[in-house]
C-alpha cells in the first residue's frame, strides 16, 4: 500500500438506492488500492455535460482493501449526483483519490460520532477504523424521516446507535442536537467526530465547547481541484485561510473561525 494519490478509471460494481434521495455506489480499482484513511475523499468526474464541468467530491464511505473496492454514499443534489445515481454495474468512473487529511485517532474510548444527512458518509469507515483500534463509539445519526433511515445494522456492528428524525417517525424527534443525550449535565464523551450540514456542525461544536469536549468536524466547502492547487475551498483558521481539500476536510473545531 502506498500513500500516493491516483487518478484512475474505476469500475462500478454496484449501484443501489437507499431511498429516494440517497444511493450507494461500489467502485473497483484496476490495481491494489492506495492507503485510505477515514475522512478522506475522492474527486469524481461525472461526465462532460456543461453543468458538471468540475469533479464532484465524495467522502469514502467504506473500504474493502482485500477486493480493491471502496464505497460512496451519495445524496442527490443536482445534475452531477443525479447522473451518478444512474450509473450501472460495468460502467466506468474516473476518480482522483485518496484526498485530504483524515480524522485523528482518539486518545480516549469515550467517543461520539454525530452525522446528519449525507454527512454520515465518512462515519461508517471511521467506526470500522475505531473498532480496529479497540474503540466502540456511540453513533448518533440524524435523518429527515423514517424512509431515509438506513444502514443502521452496519453501524450497530461498530457501536451503539442513536437515531433522530426531523419528523419523529423513527428514533427521537428533532435535529441531532436536540437528542436527549445532549440534555445531560455532563456528557459521557471525551471526543466528538461530526459531519453534516454546516449549521449542524456548528451546533455540535458549540455543545462540545460548552462541555470542553475535543471535537473534529469535516467540512464540505465547494471545490474546484480537490488536491490543493486552486485555493478555492479555503476556510479561515487560526493559521489564516487553509485549504479544506488538503489541510482538511477534517478540522478540530477549536481551530476554525467559522
Amino acid at each position: 500500500m502506498t500513500f500516493q494519490k491516483v487518478v484512475q478509471v474505476l469500475t462500478v460494481v454496484n449501484n443501489f438506492r437507499l431511498n429516494s434521495r440517497h444511493f450507494i455506489i461500489d467502485l473497483h480499482a484496476p490495481s491494489p488500492l492506495p492507503n485510505i484513511l477515514p475522512g478522506q475523499f475522492a474527486q469524481v468526474l461525472v461526465d462532460d455535460s456543461p453543468s458538471t464541468f468540475l469533479r464532484r467530491p465524495f467522502s469514502i464511505h467504506s473500504v474493502d482493501f482485500g477486493n480493491n473496492t471502496f464505497r460512496l454514499l451519495i445524496q442527490i443534489k443536482g445534475e452531477g449526483t443525479r447522473h451518478l445515481s444512474k450509473l450501472k454495474p460495468g460502467d466506468s468512473l474516473d476518480a482522483i483519490y485518496p484526498l485530504g487529511n483524515a480524522f485523528s485517532l482518539p486518545l480516549t474510548k469515550d467517543v461520539l460520532l454525530v452525522g446528519g444527512g449525507c454527512g454520515v458518509a465518512p462515519l461508517l469507515f471511521l467506526s470500522q477504523f475505531l473498532n480496529q483500534n479497540y474503540v466502540r463509539p456511540t453513533i448518533l445519526v440524524g435523518f429527515r424521516t423514517k424512509e431515509e433511515v438506513s444502514e443502521i445494522e452496519a453501524y450497530e456492528k461498530y457501536g451503539n446507535v442513536l437515531i433522530t428524525t426531523d419528523d419523529g417517525t423513527e428514533g427521537e424527534k428533532g435535529l441531532v442536537v436536540d437528542h436527549s443525550i445532549f440534555q445531560k449535565e455532563r456528557l459521557p464523551f471525551k471526543k466528538i467526530y461530526c459531519c453534516g450540514p454546516d449549521a449542524m456542525m456548528k451546533a455540535v461544536a458549540k455543545i462540545a465547547r460548552m462541555h470542553r469536549i475535543d471535537c473534529e468536524v469535516s467540512l464540505e466547502n465547494t471545490m474546484a481541484c480537490g488536491f490543493g492547487v486552486c485555493l478555492c475551498c479555503i476556510t479561515p483558521t487560526d493559521k489564516g485561510n487553509e485549504r479544506v481539500c488538503v489541510e482538511g476536510p477534517v478540522f478540530n473545531e477549536s481551530r476554525l473561525r467559522w
Binding site: 487518478v7 465547494t222 478555492c232
Partner: protein
C-alpha cells in the same frame, strides 16, 4: 522523432506545453500524477510583496463549460517564497517561472528585484491582469499607459526574460500588447480570466463573496484564440497563449493562431495529468501531418 522544442526570447523550452499560474500550485502537488520534467515549463502561483489572505469564501462558482474564481492572489509573500518555496522547487527539471503580482508599481518592482536574484528562475510573468484584487491589478492591465509604465519600471530592475500577462477585459488587446512591448516586455502571455458573475437564484445572492470573479475554462476559448490572433498581428514578440485549453487539439489551435507556447490552466483541475497528455498529443499531430518542428506551426493559420 519530432522536434517539440521552442525558443522564446532566447529561452529554450523542451516543448510548448506549460502550466498556468494559479492552477498548478508550485508544481509539487502534481508529483503524484505526472513527471514534471516532461513539461516545457511551470508558471507558479502569483507572488506578491507581502502575505495576502485572499478573498473570503466562497471563491468558486461552476458555470457552463467553465468556472469563476475569486481567489484574490492568496500567497505568503516574496520573503516566504524565497525562503521556503524556492529551495523546494529549484531543482525541478523544467522552467520554473514566477507570476508576479502587486497593488502598486513599487510592489511589482520589489518582487521582481528579489526574483531576479534567484538563479534557477529564468523568467517572470507580470500579472497585470488579475480581476480579483481591488487595488491595482485590473487597472494596470486595462489602461495601455499604465501597463506600459509598470512594465518599463520592472524592466529596469529585472534582467532576465520579462513576460507580461494581459487582461482580456479590454476593448483593444492589440493596443495593450503594443504598450507593454514598448515598455520592454520580451514575451506576452494571454489571456487571464474574463470578469464574470454568478447568481444563486434561489437564495437571491451572488455565489462569490466578491460578487464578480474571473471566468476560465473552455467557455472562454474562442475569445482567447481571437485575442492571441489579434496580438500576433499587432506585435512581433513571442506569445504564450492560454484560455480553455483542454487537449492537444486546443493547444494546436493556439499555436496556429500565433502562440509560441501554451499554458494549461483550469484543465489541470479536471485531469491533473492532462498537461503531459497534451505534449503527447502535439507529437501525434506532428506525426500525422508530417511536420518536423512544432515551431513551424506558430502562426501558421491559413487565411488566404
Amino acid at each position: 522523432m519530432k522536434n517539440l522544442s521552442v525558443n522564446i526570447a532566447g529561452l529554450h523550452f523542451k516543448n510548448p506545453v506549460t502550466t498556468a499560474s494559479g492552477t498548478f500550485g508550485y508544481g509539487d502537488e502534481f508529483l503524484d500524477f505526472i513527471d514534471l520534467s516532461r513539461l516545457g515549463g511551470i508558471f507558479v502561483k502569483a507572488v506578491t510583496g507581502k502575505n495576502r489572505d485572499g478573498n473570503a469564501y466562497p471563491r468558486m462558482a461552476e458555470t457552463s463549460s467553465g468556472m469563476l474564481n475569486s481567489v484574490g492572489l492568496q500567497n505568503k509573500g516574496i520573503d516566504h517564497f524565497c525562503r521556503e518555496i524556492y529551495p523546494r522547487i529549484r531543482h525541478f527539471d523544467t522552467h520554473m517561472i514566477v507570476n508576479v503580482s502587486g497593488s502598486t508599481v513599487e510592489e511589482y518592482i520589489e518582487v521582481a528585484e528579489r526574483i531576479n536574484e534567484l538563479e534557477m528562475i529564468p523568467a517572470i510573468e507580470l500579472n497585470i491582469s488579475c480581476p480579483n484584487v481591488k487595488l491595482g491589478g485590473m487597472a494596470f492591465g486595462t489602461v495601455p499607459a499604465m501597463a506600459a509604465e509598470v512594465t518599463s519600471e520592472v524592466r529596469k530592475v529585472y534582467k532576465k526574460v520579462l513576460m507580461v500577462k494581459l487582461s482580456p477585459n479590454v476593448t483593444s488587446i492589440g493596443d495593450l500588447a503594443k504598450a507593454v512591448v514598448d515598455g520592454g516586455a520580451d514575451v506576452i502571455t494571454l489571456i487571464n480570466t474574463l470578469l464574470g458573475m454568478a447568481i444563486d437564484a434561489e437564495r437571491r445572492r451572488p455565489v462569490l463573496s466578491t460578487i464578480t470573479g474571473g471566468l476560465s475554462g473552455p467557455a472562454i476559448k474562442p475569445i482567447a484564440l481571437r485575442m492571441v490572433w489579434q496580438t500576433h498581428k499587432a506585435v512581433r514578440v513571442p506569445i504564450i497563449g492560454l484560455g480553455g485549453i483542454m487537449n492537444a487539439t486546443d493547444a494546436i489551435e493556439f499555436i496556429l493562431a500565433g502562440a509560441s507556447a501554451i499554458q494549461v490552466g483550469t484543465a489541470n483541475f479536471i485531469d491533473p495529468s492532462v498537461s503531459v497528455k497534451i505534449v503527447d498529443g502535439i507529437e501525434a499531430y506532428l506525426d500525422r501531418h508530417k511536420i518536423n518542428n512544432v515551431s513551424d506551426l506558430v502562426g501558421a493559420l491559413r487565411t488566404e
